[in-house]
C-alpha cells in the first residue's frame, strides 16, 4: 500500500497533501476499485431501500398530480410558480458545482480537483434530472412537454424564441447532454480498467462494452486529452449561461424583486455556493464509507470550504445590491418588496436565509472550522437550507404581493408539494447510490496522472535540495 510520509516533500505553504503517501499505480487501482467488487453491505442496502422508498413516494405523487391536476399543489394566483420553480432552481444550482469542479478547476490547473471531480459530475447529472422534472410536471399537461421543442407539427405552431422559458429548455437540455458526455468521456478509461481487473466474465463483458474497447493507446490518449480539455472549455461558459438563463426567467419579468440586472451573476454565485455545499454534504460520509481518506484529503475539504466562504460573500453582495437598488430607485413597489421580505409573513424564511448563507459560512474564516469534519458537514447542510430559502424568498415574496392589493394572496404548500420535494431526494439518492455501486467514484486514471506529476515534482525538489 501507500509508502510512508517520509518520501513526501513538505511544502510549508501546503502542509496537507492532495494525495497521501506515494501510492503505486497498482495500489491506486485497488484502493479505488476494490470496493466495487464486494457485495453490498447492510448499510448500503438500508440506505438504498430508504432512497427507493422515497422514490416510490415521488412517483406516486407525480401520478397523483398528473391525474388530478396542478390544483393538488399550493400554487395560486398570484403565486403561480411556488414549489415547482423553487425546487427546479435549487436542484439545478446544486448541479453547477459539479461542472465548476470538473471543468473550471481543470482549466485553472487546480490539481486538488482530481479526486472529487467524478463524484461532483455524477451529482450534477442526477441533480439536473431532479430539476428538469419539476417544470415538466408544472406544465399542467406534462404529456405535451415535447411541444417545448421546435419540431414541425401538424398545427404549424412553433415555440416563441423571444421567451425566456424557451431559452430555459435549450439551456437545461444542452447542459444535461454536455454534462453526460463529459462524464462519460472521463469514465471510458476507468471502465476499461474495470474490465481488465474484473474477475467474472460477465462483468468483463459489460464493462468491456461500456469502455468501447479502450486499450490505453497513446494515440487515443492524445485525442482524449484534447477532447476532455475542450469539453471543459465549453462547459465553463455553458454552466455560466445555464444559470444566467434561469435567472432570466425572473429578470425579464417586470415584477418588483425580479426585474434586476444583478440576477445573472448573483444566481451563478448562488449555484456554485449551494453546489459545493451539497458535494460536501455527500462527500464527508462517502469518503468514510468507502475509505477514500487517502485520496480525498482534508486539503480538498478545506479548499471547498474556502470556495464556500468566497461564494457566500458573492451572494451576500447580491442581497445587499438588491436592497440598495430598491432603496436608491425610489420605486415604491421595489421598496415595498424588500421591506416585505424583512418584515412580512415570510420574514422568518428571509432571516433564516441570512443566517444560513451570510452568517454561518463566516465560521470558515477559522482554520479549526474549515478542518473539522462534523462542523463543515453541519454548515454545508445549513447552506443547502439557506439556498432553498433564498429561492423561496425570491419567488414567493415577490409574487404574493401583486401590484394590486386586491389580488394579494399568501402561499401555503400542500402535502403534495412537500411530498414531491422530499421524494426527489429519494430519486437523487437512488441514482447516486447506484452510481457508487457500479462506477468508480474517483477518476482512477486522473489520480494516477496526478501521482506521476507529484512524483516528478518531488524528484525535482529533492534534486534542487541536493544541489544547494
Amino acid at each position: 500500500m501507500a509508502a510512508g510520509g517520509n518520501a513526501q516533500h513538505h511544502d510549508p505553504l501546503e502542509p496537507v497533501p492532495v494525495l497521501v503517501g506515494r501510492p503505486t499505480n497498482e495500489s491506486i487501482t485497488h484502493s479505488l476499485l476494490d470496493y466495487l467488487w464486494l457485495r453490498a453491505g447492510k448499510r448500503f442496502w438500508l440506505l438504498f431501500l430508504a432512497a427507493l422508498g422515497l422514490t416510490g413516494v415521488y412517483v406516486a405523487l407525480c401520478i397523483y398530480t398528473i391525474a388530478v391536476g396542478i390544483g393538488t399543489w399550493g400554487n395560486n394566483i398570484p403565486v403561480g410558480w411556488a414549489f415547482g420553480i423553487i425546487n427546479f432552481v435549487w436542484w439545478i444550482g446544486i448541479g453547477h458545482a459539479g461542472t465548476l469542479i470538473s471543468a473550471i478547476l481543470l482549466l485553472f490547473q487546480q490539481k486538488w480537483r482530481t479526486s472529487i471531480n467524478r463524484f461532483a459530475e455524477a451529482m450534477t447529472l442526477f441533480a439536473v434530472v431532479c430539476a428538469g422534472l419539476y417544470p415538466i410536471l408544472h406544465l399542467g399537461r406534462p404529456w405535451f412537454f415535447y411541444w417545448l421543442f421546435p419540431y414541425p407539427s401538424a398545427s404549424r405552431v412553433w415555440p416563441q424564441f423571444r421567451s425566456a422559458l424557451v431559452w430555459d429548455v435549450f439551456a437545461v437540455s444542452t447542459y444535461f447532454t454536455v454534462s453526460l458526455l463529459f462524464w462519460y468521456v472521463g469514465l471510458v478509461p476507468d471502465l476499461a480498467t474495470m474490465r481488465d481487473v474484473a474477475k467474472s466474465p460477465r462483468r468483463k463483458r459489460i464493462y468491456g462494452i461500456f469502455s468501447l474497447g479502450w486499450r490505453g493507446s497513446v494515440r487515443h490518449w492524445r485525442h482524449w486529452r484534447s477532447l476532455y480539455l475542450l469539453l471543459a472549455g465549453i462547459a465553463t461558459p455553458l454552466v455560466l449561461s445555464v444559470h444566467t438563463v434561469v435567472s432570466f426567467d425572473f429578470a425579464t419579468g417586470i415584477l418588483p424583486g425580479w426585474h434586476t440586472t444583478v440576477f445573472p451573476p448573483y444566481f451563478v454565485a448562488g449555484a456554485v455556493f449551494s453546489g459545493f455545499a451539497l458535494v460536501m454534504t455527500l462527500i464527508v460520509p462517502a469518503r468514510k464509507l468507502f475509505h477514500l481518506e487517502d485520496v480525498i484529503t482534508l486539503k480538498h475539504l478545506e479548499n471547498m470550504n474556502k470556495v464556500m466562504l468566497a461564494t457566500s460573500w458573492m451572494v451576500t453582495y447580491g442581497y445587499a445590491v438588491e436592497h440598495f437598488v430598491a432603496w436608491y430607485s425610489g420605486n415604491p413597489y421595489e421598496t415595498y418588496v424588500m421591506h416585505n421580505r424583512e418584515t412580512g409573513v415570510y420574514a422568518p424564511i428571509f432571516w433564516l436565509m441570512i443566517f444560513c448563507n451570510v452568517i454561518a459560512p463566516q465560521s470558515f474564516w477559522f482554520k479549526k472550522a474549515r478542518t473539522s469534519l462534523l462542523f463543515m458537514w453541519v454548515v454545508s447542510l445549513l447552506i443547502n437550507v439557506g439556498m432553498w430559502c433564498e429561492r423561496f424568498v425570491i419567488i414567493v415574496t415577490s409574487l404574493h404581493r401583486d401590484f394590486l392589493p386586491s389580488s394579494w394572496r399568501d402561499f401555503i404548500p400542500t402535502w403534495v408539494d412537500i411530498g414531491i420535494y422530499i421524494g426527489t431526494f429519494g430519486l437523487f439518492g437512488t441514482l447516486f447510490l447506484l452510481f457508487l455501486r457500479f462506477v468508480p467514484a474517483v477518476a482512477v486514471a486522473e489520480v494516477k496522472e496526478l501521482a506521476y506529476e507529484l512524483e516528478h515534482e518531488a524528484r525535482h525538489h529533492e534534486m534542487a535540495e541536493g544541489a544547494s
Binding site: R162, D196, R215, W221, I234
Partner: protein
C-alpha cells in the same frame, strides 16, 4: 499476416525512452499503451496534432448557424407573432438558444469525432490476447510495433527493447488488424 512486437516496462519514463529508441529505428507503426496520458509520451512518438479541436470548431459553428436559422425560420417567417410591434427577428433574444445550440453541436461532434478518430468502439483487439496486456490499463506501460511485411526482421526491434529492460513479446495475427 500481421505481427506485433510488444515491449512492456514498469515506469512511464522508461516507456518514453523506449518509444524514442524505436522511433529512431523507423520500422513499422509504433504505438504505446498506458493507464494514463503520460505527459511527453505522445510528443516522443512524434504524433500529429489531434484533429478533435477542428471537428469541434466545425460542429460548434454549424450549431450556431442551425440555431439562429431555426429561430429565424420559425419565428420570423413561418409563424410570426406580433408582440406589441416588436421586431419579429430580434437577434438579442435569439442569442441564448443560438449559443446553447453551438455548445451542444460542438460537444456532440467532439465526442463522435473522438470515437471515430480512435476507431472505437472496438471491443476486441489482437493485443488483448497477449497475456499481461490487461495491465496496460492498470500499472504497466507498453510500446508496440506493428509490422505488415511478413519478411521484416524483428531482431533490431527486440534488441532495442531489451537494451532498455523491456519484456518483449511477438504476436502474430492471421487476419487484418
Amino acid at each position: 499476416m500481421i505481427r506485433f512486437v510488444l515491449g512492456e516496462v514498469k515506469h512511464p519514463d522508461v516507456a518514453i525512452d523506449v518509444a524514442r529508441a524505436i522511433a529512431k529505428l523507423g520500422v513499422g507503426e509504433v504505438d504505446g499503451f498506458g493507464p494514463f496520458p503520460v505527459p511527453g509520451w505522445d510528443d516522443a512518438m512524434k504524433l500529429p496534432k489531434s484533429r478533435v479541436p477542428l471537428i469541434m470548431l466545425c460542429g460548434g459553428l454549424t450549431g450556431v448557424f442551425v440555431g439562429f436559422f431555426l429561430q429565424w425560420l420559425t419565428n420570423g417567417w413561418d409563424y410570426p407573432i406580433n408582440v406589441a410591434g416588436r421586431p419579429l427577428v430580434s437577434a438579442p433574444a435569439f442569442i441564448p438558444a443560438t449559443f446553447e445550440m453551438g455548445i451542444l453541436f460542438a460537444a456532440i461532434s467532439g465526442v463522435l469525432g473522438f470515437i471515430a478518430l480512435c476507431g472505437l468502439p472496438r471491443v476486441w483487439h489482437p493485443l488483448f490476447e497477449v497475456p499481461g496486456f490487461e495491465r496496460a490499463t492498470v500499472d504497466r506501460f507498453f510500446v508496440s510495433v506493428r509490422l505488415t511485411d511478413p519478411d521484416a526482421d524483428t531482431t533490431p526491434i527486440v534488441r532495442a527493447f531489451e537494451e532498455l529492460g523491456a519484456r518483449v513479446t511477438v504476436v502474430e495475427v492471421e487476419t487484418k488488424a
